[in-house]
Structure formats: C-alpha cells, structure tokens
C-alpha cells in the first residue's frame, strides 16, 4: 500500500506542476500593462456631523522606458471639527493633515511589481507605511492574481499633554483575483487581513459609566478580515453596471456588511454619467457601551465601534474636454454623494435621542492622461 502511495505521488506532483504550467503558458501573447501616465488635481470636501474637511490633492505618474512607472502624490485635509464627541466633551478645533506617497511599478512580461511608501502627518498623529504588491496575469491573461503586504507604524501624541506618547503597528495582507468571465463581464474576489498592535484608541475620547465620563480603554491588539466580491458588466449601447458586496469581521466581535451598486452610461461623445448607491451595516464591538452599568477591563463609547447603518447615494459626471488620440486626453470630473448615518446605540446626550446625521462628499478634479 505504501509503495503504491509513493509511486502515485510523483504523478500527482507532475499533474499539479502541469496545471500551473499550462495556466502560465496559455496564450501569453499580451504582457501586463503599466499604469497610464497621468496628472490629477483634486479639490475634495466632506461636510457632516459638525465636521468640515477639505483641501487639494495632486498626483503625477510617469513611466520610464515602458518598464518602470514612478508616481507621487500630495494630499491635504484641512479639518474644522465640532463633531458631537467634540462639542459634548471639549471645544471646537482646527487642524491640518498632510499625506505624501511615492511609488515605483515595474512590469516584466505578465507581472507587475509595485513598491510604495506613505506618510500621513497631523500635529498629534503620524502614520508611516511601506507596501509591496505583485500582480500576475495567468490563463491567457484572463485571470489576474494579486498579492500585497503593507507594514505600518503610527505615532500617537496628545495636544496639551507632552508626557503622552504611544505607538501602533499594523500588518496588512491582501489577496485578490480578477477574472475575465465573458467579453462583457469581469468578476473579482478580494481578501484582506489586517492586524494591529499598540494604541488603538483616541486619547481625547471618553466613555460613560453610570453617566460619568471616564477615559476609554481599548484592547491593544485587533485582527480583522474583509472579503469582497465584485461583478461589473457591459450592458451594451455604451452602458455598464456593477455590484459589490463585502463582509467584514474582526476579533472585537464587529461584523459588517457593505453592498454597493452603480450604473454608468455615455451621453454623447464627451460625457460619462455615473450613479451609485451604498448600504452599510455593522454590529457593535464587545466592549462598546453607550452608558455602561458596570466597570469592565475594556470600555469604549466610540461610535465607530457601535451598532449603526448608513446609506449613501451619489452621482458623478465626467467631461472629456480635449482628446488627441495617441497623445493625450483631458477630463473634468465632478462627483457628489450624500450619506445618512443612523446610530442604533449612541445617544445624543443633548437631546437624549439616538444620534443621526447627514454628510455630503464633493470631489472636483481634472485628470490628464498622456
């Protein structure tokens, strides 16, 4: 019996090797493409729940010798914060967050390798990360398999309290598969696991126990998983539709569902219109409490960890202002989205009712591809 098993195994390995070999070899005439050269300028605005955040952002991407593409971006968030947390426990404040990133992409046959560094800086918080991603086209370029890893380190400070200093480390692992299903339909599946270790709260936020304010106490580790499926199809007559679903779960016992759907169509030669809806629903963390009736090791009243749902409705209009085939294209884009947040277990202590608010997102940008 053992001899049969041993004789059988090389055959099995040959078959597995043969299967992978045929996956890689099948009709690989078309190599993977580097991202298009482009320049983007964006003005973004978020307004809702007493918070206004706006600012410019710039991105430039340029390829060298059709093998390497370099990219860099700069992003500014000027935040004026009078959110419910701030107005009920402190006073309104303003601060600016700036983010920079730099990336290198290298294409070799059917593989695209990307390396990126990122920094986000605000007066009391700094986040740095390094990412590496590899995408490989297989199966006659019908399937793209992508793997990625990001390592991040955050430095957390507290304004007005120089003795407070803490840090957090993050590990992100990504796996994605995109499949050409028919000449009009693409499907994809993505999995991402994120692990955190360190200070995972907010030094300004308070929790409530018997109506009294106490500093929040979060666990110092967390691991989350997110699994997303997406389908996008060309409906013909210059129309397309998409739908995606994401399931999220973590070690703080939060589970969340996200469902998003969109429809796009060309209007004339120069206009592209897009409409989309988004539903989001999450359950609360184990240690979340609106107003705790006992002292526990961990305690939070962070509404980001509470039971809530949101609904978003948006539209985007893109106008091709200039098109010189084979040389460059210039687009002007405007996008607006309205999101309603409804909290199931977070009381507005000013009105003693469940908290809810509406937010608006605005994006205006110019994109040049060349």
């Amino acid at each position: 019996m053992a001899a049969i098993e041993l004789r059988g195994m090389p055959g099995l390995w040959q078959r597995i090797a043969g299967l992978f070999g045929s996956l890689l070899a099948m009709g690989g005439a078309k190599a993977i493409e580097l991202p298009e050269d482009r320049a983007e300028g964006l003005y973004h605005l978020y307004k809702g729940g007493g918070v206004t955040a706006d600012g410019p952002a710039l991105l430039v991407r340029k390829s060298l010798a059709d093998k390497v593409s370099l990219s860099g971006s700069y992003y500014v968030d000027a935040v004026s914060n009078a959110s419910i947390d701030v107005v009920t426990t402190a006073s309104k404040f303003k601060e600016t967050r700036k983010a920079y990133d730099f990336g290198v992409d290298y294409a070799y046959r059917d593989s695209l390798m990307s390396l990126g560094v990122y920094r986000s800086k605000e007066p009391d918080y700094q986040a740095d990360s390094v990412s590496i991603d590899v995408a490989q086209e297989v199966y006659g370029n019908m399937t793209t398999v992508a793997l990625g890893f990001t390592r991040g380190v955050d430095k957390v400070l507290k304004a007005g309290e120089p003795s407070f200093s803490d840090s957090a480390k993050h590990w992100q692992y990504r796996l994605g598969i995109t499949q050409v299903l028919t000449p009009r339909l693409l499907g994809s599946a993505n999995l991402e696991v994120v692990s955190d270790d360190g200070y995972l709260g907010n030094p300004y936020r308070v929790a409530r126990v018997f109506g009294a304010s106490v500093p929040e106490r979060n666990p110092r580790t967390r691991t989350s998983r997110a699994l997303k499926f997406k389908l996008i199809g060309d409906l013909g007559e210059r129309n397309a539709a998409r739908v995606e679903y994401r399931y999220f779960w973590d070690t703080w016992d939060i589970k969340a569902h996200t469902l998003e759907a969109g429809y796009s169509r060309y209007v004339g030669n120069d206009w592209l219109a897009d409409g989309f809806v988004r539903f989001y629903k999450q359950g609360q963390a184990l240690f979340y409490s609106d107003n705790a009736s006992s002292e526990t090791l961990y305690l939070s009243r962070n509404r980001q960890l509470s039971d809530f749902r949101s609904f978003g409705l948006g539209g985007k209009l893109s106008y091709t202002a200039k098109r010189v085939p084979g040389q460059y294209e210039l687009k002007i884009v405007g996008s607006i989205e309205r999101i309603r947040f409804n909290y199931g277990n977070f009381t507005d202590i000013r009105t003693r009712k469940a908290y809810d608010f509406d937010a608006n997102l605005l994006q205006l940008y110019v994109t040049a591809t060349f």
Partner: protein
C-alpha cells in the same frame, strides 16, 4: 491536548491522504482553453468598466469611510492616518 483547529487540520490531512491514495485513477481536472481572446476584450478595456480608477478621488472616499466605519480592507485604494472624530 489538541485544540479544535489542530484536530480539524489533522482530520483534513488524513482525509486528503486517504482520498489521494485510494484512487489510483484520480486526475486533476484539466482547464478549458481560455475562452475570451485578447481581441475580444475591447469592451472590458473601456473607461466605463473602471469607475473607481481615478486614484485621488478613490483614496479620498476610502479615507472618509474608513475613519467613520469599523470595517476596513479589501478595497483597492490605500490610505492611512488617524482622521480622528
């Protein structure tokens, strides 16, 4: 003492080995030829099929959502920072 995960892994490994050794005629299924040829992918390459491909706008939306929701990950855009409430 083995925990449930270890027990499950051992059972799965034993089951897999039994399956493979028991069937000498077992074959991995062969894949069909790629059925969508490169010249049939013109519609898939159209910008209408990449609605979230403008990097900065996608990153902005992702940041707005990730600082307000507990869920994170499995989206293509990257980002970070605190964006505290």
């Amino acid at each position: 003492m083995m925990d449930t995960t270890q027990r499950f892994a051992v059972l799965a490994a034993l089951g897999g080995a039994a399956l493979l050794s028991g069937c000498s005629s077992w074959r991995l299924p062969s894949l069909p030829e790629p059925w969508v040829k490169p010249y049939e992918r013109e519609r898939l390459a159209d910008p209408i099929m990449k609605p979230g491909s403008d990097g900065l706008a996608a990153r902005h939306r992702e940041h707005v959502l990730v600082v307000r929701e507990a869920a994170r990950g499995a989206n293509s855009a990257q980002g970070g920072g605190c964006g505290c409430n």
